[in-house]
């Protein structure tokens, strides 16, 4: 039988602070943070990410953030597009509903990590997933936590995913 198709899986990494975190973090936090990372998974020529509006998708680099600051190659997958849509729908109804968004505990990077593991078995780089704990371990982060917690991040330019047969 024919060999299965392999689809490349990439991780797009954006710095939401546009370089400000790199400059100001030593002063404000006491430790060096290279950026405030927002990530998305790009597979099947589409970009998928999780925000306060739930799981969304757009053409790669199609959010208002523009092109990514860096691209990480996660691997390749045999998962087809339909199957992936099914998977995302089930995630969108369980772990990644729109109201389940929390900037520290269940954010875009949590989603990306889950999806990357599903697609390739690999996790995303730890400097991204460790970011919330890095911030919260500083007194500044702890002090600002009540203000930061309700923040909802939703990059614009995408649209929410629907069920594969066109009904939402």
């Amino acid at each position: 039988m024919e060999p299965p198709n392999l689809y490349p899986v990439k991780l797009y990494v954006y710095d939401l602070s546009k370089g400000l975190a790199r400059r100001l973090s030593p002063i404000m936090l006491g430790k060096q943070l290279e950026g405030i990372w927002h990530t998305s998974i790009v597979v099947h020529k589409d970009e998928f990410y999780f925000g306060s509006g739930g799981i969304s998708s757009c053409p790669p680099g199609g959010t208002l953030l523009g092109p990514p600051d860096s691209v990480v190659d996660v691997g390749s997958t045999e998962v087809t597009e339909e199957l992936f849509q099914e998977y995302l729908s089930s995630l969108g109804e369980s772990l990644f509903r729109r109201e389940a968004y929390n900037i520290f505990e269940n954010n875009c990077n949590t989603f990306t990590n889950e999806v990357a593991q599903f697609l390739t078995g690999r996790k995303i780089p730890s400097y991204i997933t460790d970011l919330p704990s890095e911030i919260l371990s500083t007194p500044f982060g702890q002090a600002l936590r009540p203000f930061l917690d309700p923040i909802q991040i939703q990059p614009h330019g995408g649209s929410p995913i629907g069920r594969p047969n066109g009904q939402s």
Partner: protein, 614 residues
């Protein structure tokens, strides 16, 4: 024997697991695999040489679904039925991902794949074909592929990720340039059918029947399409409409303001009615004795408004506040004293009132003018509908204002030259200073809920209090920020090594404004914070442990203003004199001892004696 054991359910296996390894020779050892599905995960104990098929049987009973609904994924590879788990390298503790397909989707996917071959230009649209083909058959046009391509546009918001490739603005632009599509668009019957058959439009028409009147007028439709094609016109109208909001809203109407239920977006349609009114008025000049446009002056408008009897007072008052297109107002005021607020402005409340007043006043006119007037009169209803959606777009607007400044700052950061970078960050800091509100939003890409107001108000005061402004300006110099980092690191080291020395660093920080300078400054003699050492001892180590920042610990030490005031020499002058009298000649050492003992002379003496080695 081996097959029997493999055929056991997982519960039985787990019960037998302890007894098994002793009997078996090579393969059938039990492994524990984690099966992860849709946000939850469970452990399963299975034999090593279980085939995928058998595993699926187990899972189907456990998850209560059919076997063909199950798809297993391991390390990104789909597991085929004939493989065994050990063949795929699944060992103890590994995670297998499970997707349970819904029954509906497995059927519809088969259907959609058949349509796929016929739709070359828009191969991504396959899942919407089922809907659109059925809907548009009454149109009776045989350009099926083009139709479907065109219909992607109105379907764009409903459609999921696969269709986004086609629904992006550049694709719509491309499609519009296609001459056959333009030909289609010029056929007003077809377009009208397109629009009226669309379910969203039907909903719109139910909400407000006036919309259907609009659609019946082919002139208006044609103008709409002309307008939709001419971006410059849209921009101009938007500028006229919302001059004060220009900075907030991007001028590109095809961008993210889209609630794309109507072709070209709500705004385009809304603006088009403004234009349509003008066009219509031009075409019906003879009825009104000339183009009233020359009489656009607002004063005249208001005068005419006041002189018009049937118009109720409330619309007038609100009209005074309108910042928008005077032309549309004039249309109605010149037409025998009708008051109108027909421009598609962003004021939802009053617009709803006008249609009723219009119909009553119109009915007093002769029959022939009523027809053309009716339609414009009903125009305001449509903007009201689109405006009810405005609250939802507010979030988008807020983020758009963010985005435009986002873009600006992003552009600012583009050049990679170090010097220009510092200049740019300097200007960026200025921007932040001038708009602390912006600063709050710029740190993280935010669309904040109710807390935002509170936070924004607090941020300016926060910025002022911490004298962040000076600091930000200083940071414009990259060397300075590097230096500060070094200081920070040094302080941290000092804090861990010898916290008692922290107050001695204070003079160096006077210049940065972190700690207020004392009233009398003797930077060369001794640090000012005299009684702080004693306080520092119990407080310092705690501070240092809790706060990761050396500067912060210093600031906390300095937070208590009472210690700042008097220079040590003044405070301990009496004790100094007594020490001198006793024969302790070393002025400097005396002072230090007094600091350490908080002015206790006898303790200071003991200290001095110890240090002199008595």
């Amino acid at each position: 024997m081996a097959e029997d054991e493999e055929g056991l359910t997982w519960t039985e296996l787990s019960g037998h697991s302890s007894g098994m390894p002793a009997d078996k020779n090579i393969s059938s050892s039990v492994t524990r695999v984690i099966v992860k599905t849709a946000g939850k995960q469970e452990d399963f104990m299975i034999a090593d040489d279980t085939s995928v098929r058998q595993f699926k049987e187990k899972l189907s009973t456990h998850f209560k679904c059919q076997m063909d609904q199950l798809v297993l994924v391991f390390m990104g590879r789909l597991l085929k039925d004939h493989d065994t788990l050990s063949q795929r390298g699944i060992l103890d503790g590994h995670t297998i991902h499970l997707v349970i397909k819904s029954k509906r989707s497995s059927r519809s996917l088969a259907h959609s794949s058949r349509n796929l071959s016929t739709k070359e230009p828009c191969h991504q649209v396959r899942n919407t074909e089922g809907n659109t083909n059925g809907v548009y058959q009454p149109a009776g046009v045989s350009h099926t592929p083009l139709e479907s391509a065109l219909l992607v546009e109105p379907d764009a918001p409903k459609v999921h990720s696969q269709d986004l490739e086609v629904s992006g603005p550049e694709y719509i632009a491309q499609m519009l340039q296609n001459p056959s599509i333009q030909q289609l668009l010029s056929n007003t019957d077809l377009v009208r059918q397109f629009i009226s058959e669309h379910p969203d439009m039907q909903q719109l028409m139910q909400q407000s029947p006036e919309v259907s009147y609009i659609l019946d007028n082919s002139d208006i439709l044609w103008q709409t399409l002309e307008l939709a094609r001419n971006l410059a016109m849209i921009q101009e109208i938007m500028q006229i409409q919302q001059p004060e909001q220009i900075l907030e809203h991007p001028l590109n109407p095809q961008s993210h303001l889209g609630l794309e239920t109507l072709p070209g977006g709500d705004n385009a349609l809304g603006q088009s009615y403004v234009d349509c009114n003008d066009q219509m008025l031009n075409s019906s000049q003879d009825l009104f004795g000339g183009n009233p446009f020359p009489a656009l002056l607002e004063g005249q408008v208001l005068q005419q408004l006041q002189s018009s009897p049937p118009s109720p007072p409330p619309p007038q008052e609100r009209q005074d506040q309108l910042p928008q297109l005077p032309t549309t107002r004039v249309i109605y005021t010149s037409s025998h004293g009708l008051s109108s607020i027909t421009s598609a402005s962003v004021t939802p409340n009053k617009v709803n009132h006008t249609p009723s007043t219009h119909t009553t006043t119109i009915s007093t006119k002769g029959p022939s003018p009523t027809c053309p007037i009716q339609q414009p009169a009903r125009v305001p209803a449509l903007p009201s509908i689109e405006l009810t959606q405005q609250p939802q777009t507010e979030d988008i607007d807020a983020t758009i204002s963010l985005d435009s400044s986002d873009q600006k700052l992003e552009d600012d950061l583009q050049p990679s030259d170090e010097q220009t970078k510092s200049q740019i960050t300097g200007s960026m800091m200025q921007l932040l200073l001038n708009n602390p509100y912006l600063a709050a939003q710029m740190m993280l890409f935010i669309s904040m809920p109710q807390l935002s107001e509170q936070y924004r108000q607090q941020l300016p005061t926060f910025l002022q209090q911490t004298q962040l402004s000076d600091m930000l300006i200083a940071l414009a110099n990259p060397k300075a920020s590097q230096a500060i980092l070094q200081i920070e690191q040094g302080l941290q080291l000092l804090a861990t090594e010898a916290p008692v020395l922290l107050p001695w660093v204070a003079p160096y920080l006077w210049g940065l404004g972190w700690l207020p300078a004392p009233s009398c400054s003797h930077p060369d003699t001794v640090p000012w914070a005299w009684d702080v050492p004693d306080i520092a001892e119990p407080k310092g180590p705690e501070c240092c442990h809790k706060s990761g920042t050396g500067l912060q610990s210093l600031q906390s030490l300095a937070g208590d203003p009472s210690h700042l005031l008097q220079a040590p020499e003044i405070r301990f002058s009496q004790q100094m004199e007594s020490l001198q009298a006793m024969g302790f000649g070393n002025h400097h050492a005396n002072l230090q001892a007094l600091i350490a003992t908080e002015g206790d002379t006898s303790a200071a003496i003991r200290k001095l004696k110890r240090s002199h080695g008595f």
